[in-house]
């Protein structure tokens, strides 16, 4: 069907008139002795005319020195990478290859080389580039024509290569589109291995597209304050929690000419945490701990906690709810606490038979641009506006040594398990910093 359609195009000759002169101009040897087979280019990409003069230069360069190395097509990319590693130069390399040889000789090696170079050019998440890469395959040649060809693995190397392109798309989470399907049908036929791979991707990808209950966008927010807001709301898990930006990032130059940059301080506290902090025994210290990592896809951010040690069992007070007491939002018809001894049926016990893990309460969380004590003290003093008890409580800083700001994957220092285990943690209790000395009790 597809072939018949292409033949129709051939007969009408609408493309013939535009393409033949271009080929003839590029390399007279190519058009010598045979009529260019139009089925080798898909109808989609044939229409786009590139800058032919530039191409001609590249091809001339290519034909001057024949590379002797086994890796044939890396050089093409490296030459393109010299000026700019971007989508345009990648596409230009593909076009150069397409124009160089009408038979697309060595296209499997070329596609493998291109797949390897894609992350370098930053096009690994671009569906149009993948389609363009698939378009390098000659059309119609690898489609099995009879049942024997279909029964055996027809052109296995080429099919493997096609599967490889789709697998790389799968690994980067790119969903193929209709154009990919059309190309695959044109290249390999309806029931080939790459087509099967395409069908599998299209079957499973939509199923698992939205399973993540804590979604992270692919392109993270650029502004560190916005990113801190996003991460803190994610870890706080409380819609009532209120985010306070204690300090915006700013840079100013002093009179002496020194540049002073102020890091951002973003904190979050929920009403529940504030109540817990209000009930905190002022004789026991609260701790500022961190930094703890949080991964948002491939980016790692760090946050700090204000927390207390677990309350020892002798100090724990059982809170009795006063049945008479009603808050302002308390309904008169539904009491806060019901003690009904409803008979449970046999086997209605849905609780788990485990001991509770005892941990200290978390009072607030924050993210800063700098992990030194001064910055965090600013956060604590900002918290004091809403939590006056902090003025009476000694605050101890238990910070991990080593500064880690917002890091990308590349420059993360190897430091396995750097937190939450006391062995690796250097507790430098620097000082018991009592922020407001008038409230100090000794």
């Amino acid at each position: 069907m597809a072939r018949r359609f292409l033949l129709q195009i051939y007969h009408t000759g609408c493309i013939t008139s535009t393409v033949i002169p271009a080929v003839a101009r590029l390399d007279p040897r190519l058009s010598y002795g045979h009529v260019p087979r139009l089925i080798h280019c898909s109808s989609v990409f044939c229409k786009s005319k590139s800058d032919n003069t530039n191409l001609q230069e590249i091809i001339e360069l290519e034909s001057e020195k024949k590379p002797k190395s086994l890796v044939t097509h890396d050089e093409l990319f490296e030459r393109a990478a010299r000026d700019a590693k971007c989508k345009a130069s990648f596409n230009r390399v593909l076009e150069t290859f397409n124009k160089k040889d009408i038979r697309r000789r060595g296209h499997v090696e070329f596609i493998y080389a291109a797949l390897k170079k894609m992350p370098e050019f930053g096009v690994e998440r671009d569906i149009t580039v993948y389609n363009k890469l698939l378009d390098v395959f000659p059309k119609e040649v690898f489609v099995p024509r009879n049942f024997i060809q279909r029964m055996f693995n027809h052109y296995p190397r080429q099919q493997e290569c096609g599967v490889q392109v789709l697998e790389q798309m799968e690994n980067y989470g790119i969903m193929p589109n209709m154009e990919t399907k059309v190309l695959l049908v044109q290249i390999f036929g309806e029931k080939s291995h790459p087509m099967r791979k395409y069908q599998r991707i299209m079957y499973w990808f939509p199923k698992f597209k939205n399973v993540n209950p804590f979604p992270v966008p692919h392109d993270l927010l650029q502004d560190p304050v916005d990113l801190a807001r996003f991460s803190l709301t994610r870890i706080a898990n409380d819609l009532d929690a209120k985010i306070t930006v204690h300090q915006f990032p700013s840079t100013h130059i002093t009179e002496a000419g020194e540049e002073i940059s102020q890091p951002y301080v973003v904190g979050i506290q929920s009403p529940e945490q504030r109540n817990l902090l209000a009930k905190h025994n002022p004789n026991r210290p609260v701790f500022v701990e961190g930094p703890f990592p949080l991964w948002l896809r491939k980016t790692c951010v760090h946050y700090y906690l204000l927390r207390a040690d677990p309350i020892p069992p002798e100090e724990q007070v059982e809170e009795e709810l006063d049945p008479e007491l009603t808050g302002p939002e308390q309904s008169f018809f539904f009491p806060q606490y019901i003690n009904l001894d409803l008979k449970k049926d046999l086997g209605d016990d849905d609780s788990f038979d485990v001991d509770e893990v005892v941990e200290g309460a978390v009072y607030a969380m924050c993210m800063t641009g700098q992990s030194d004590q001064a910055t965090l003290a600013q956060w604590i003093s900002g918290l004091q506006e809403n939590n006056p008890v902090l003025g009476k409580v000694p605050t101890v800083f238990r910070l991990d040594s080593g500064f880690r700001e917002l890091q990308k994957v590349e420059d993360i220092r190897h430091d396995p398990g750097h937190d939450q285990h006391p062995g690796a943690k250097q507790e430098h209790i620097i000082e018991e910093k009592v922020l407001h000395s008038q409230g100090m009790k000794r």
């Binding site: 706080a236 849905d350 978390v362 890091q407 285990h421």
Partner: protein, 223 residues
């Protein structure tokens, strides 16, 4: 009624009325020996993984660092995984024992991660040797942060995969002979990671009636 004995020597009444069962809790160092940790070191990679008890000796802490550079052996293309896997329970003379979870329909985990996505793997006993690598998996997303996270995964959601490839003809997981449960990290984000597990349990979710979440009928085109 009392003279009836159910499976594993427990009273039949207890067995029949059981709605939840805690499979693993990590309240002591000896309980860590029921687990094995592996990383891509075994294929020549460079990830590191360690297992220890948490801060107050009552949780399991798996930590390390992931490195997804493939080994330079010329054939391995992908690397970068870390795995925690329960050991196969054995009876005397190294006979295999299996977990029987057929009374339950949901896996219940209490975990605390650092925002990375994990994978929960269950391997069940199979009959033919070509099914040896069959594994049922589902995703486990962690929120990150200082709070514990309760995760319920219905067993019907687990899909069949073999040697890392999701299979075309799916089948539901048979829970009567489960060999092991595992957690795998392989999200290609190089750097430190950690996962803290409080306990692992199975429970019976009465509102959940789904038997298998994926299509079982013959599809056209048959993929």
């Amino acid at each position: 009624m009392e003279r009836w004995v159910g499976p594993e020597g427990r009273p039949l009444e207890v067995h029949m009325l059981e709605q939840t069962r805690v499979l693993w809790e990590f309240r002591g160092p000896e309980l860590l020996s029921e687990w094995t940790v592996t990383s891509d070191r075994e294929i020549g990679g460079r990830s590191e993984v360690y297992l220890k008890l948490g801060r107050n000796n009552s949780t399991c802490m798996m930590y390390g660092s992931l490195c997804s550079t493939p080994p330079r052996d010329g054939e391995t293309r992908y690397s970068g995984y870390c795995t925690l896997r329960s050991k196969q329970p054995l009876a005397s003379f190294d006979r295999k024992k299996h977990y029987d979870w057929s009374n339950f329909n949901t896996l219940y985990l209490r975990i605390r991660g650092d925002g990375r996505p994990w994978m929960v793997n269950i391997s069940a006993e199979t009959y033919f040797s070509h099914q040896r690598d069959d594994m049922y998996s589902y995703f486990l997303y962690t929120r990150g942060g200082p709070y514990w996270q309760d995760v319920k995964i219905p067993f019907s959601k687990f899909f069949l995969s073999s040697r890392g490839r999701i299979q075309d003809d799916q089948h539901e997981l048979w829970l009567d002979k489960v060999n092991s449960l595992g957690f795998t990290l392989g999200d290609k984000a190089d750097g430190p990671f950690q996962l803290e597990i409080d306990f692992i349990a199975v429970c019976n979710e009465h509102a959940h009636t789904e038997e298998f979440a994926y299509e079982l009928y013959k599809r056209n085109p048959e993929v």
